[in-house]
């Protein structure tokens, strides 16, 4: 059986999470979804490993997606982390840069751009043993 790349999608809008899940499953990813920061943190802290995490920024609270990103970036091996937001500001973007988030897309999401970015980041991650 081929080892599927695993993906965690975090978005409080169930339709968005479901749509992204379908898009990435069609591309061969094994996808888990979480509809809040809290449930995403539970998955990340309970030893689930993901090759990439795509998280919304504003969920239970403004900018709380940065908490998901921070938790994901502390894992070993570190998943590729993508922020997805309709509410980018200088402050939250600067925080994301400082945290070394791997990619940031703005809503409405260009699915081709998102798929390309995830594919590229995962290839880059696979080629870098330090990650």
């Amino acid at each position: 059986m081929v080892n599927q790349p695993s993906l965690l999608i975090v978005d409080d809008e169930a339709n968005v999470a479901l749509t992204l899940k379908m898009v990435f499953e069609r591309d061969g990813y094994a996808v888990r979804t979480a509809n809040s920061c809290a449930s995403a943190l539970k998955l990340l802290e309970n030893g689930h490993q993901f090759d990439a995490v795509i998280t919304d920024l504003n969920m239970e609270k403004e900018n709380i997606g940065l908490e998901v990103a921070r938790a994901a970036l502390q894992l070993h091996p570190k998943p590729a982390v993508v922020l997805c937001t309709g509410y980018a500001s200088v402050d939250n973007s600067a925080a994301a840069l400082q945290m070394k988030v791997d990619y940031m897309v703005t809503k409405p999401v260009d699915l081709d751009e998102l798929k390309r970015a995830v594919r590229r980041l995962m290839a880059f991650r696979d080629s870098d043993p330090g990650k």
Binding site: L83, A88, S89, V90, S93, A94, A96, L97, K100, V101, D102, Y103, M104, T106, A117, F124, D128, G130, K131
Partner: protein, 141 residues
């Protein structure tokens, strides 16, 4: 491509203004680095094929050959552990997004003092002793 053993560290500086390049050159050389300078994108790309870089400082606006952002992305892809700083005339959501998406470590105001940029970029480097068999120098392409 594995990095060869080397004792000196190397910085790439890409900017269309020669006086800015000179200021960065002085600052990097003063810190014991070899500074490779490029005034445009083609020269910078050529330098990437000839050196291993620990630090890169790139202007987001290059006079010839276009944009510094994708160049920063290329540097990050080739040298993932290198500090990549970009000098940009404004800090906006778009510039920050470009920085994140190109693997930039930090952005700096285009008018920043070169010593400040160099000190910040070097403070993120692992502290290994620099022992040189020859004096650090500068190559101007």
């Amino acid at each position: 491509m594995s990095e060869p053993l080397k004792t000196t560290k190397t910085a790439l500086v890409v900017h269309s203004d020669m006086s800015v390049l000179s200021a960065f050159q002085s600052s990097f050389v003063g810190k014991g680095y070899v500074a490779i300078l490029a005034r445009d994108l083609p020269t910078a790309l050529l330098a990437l094929t000839q050196h291993f870089f620990d630090v890169a400082v790139i202007s987001s606006r290059l006079a010839e050959g276009g944009d510094g952002w994708p160049l920063a992305g290329v540097v990050h892809l080739i040298f993932p552990k290198a500090f990549v700083g970009v000098l940009t005339p404004e800090t906006s959501v778009l510039t920050l997004q470009a920085a994140i998406n190109n693997g930039v470590t930090q952005i700096f105001d285009a008018a920043s003092n070169p010593d400040h940029v160099v000190n910040t970029s070097l403070s993120s480097q692992p502290t290994i002793p620099i022992t040189t068999s020859s004096e650090p120098g500068t190559s101007v392409h």
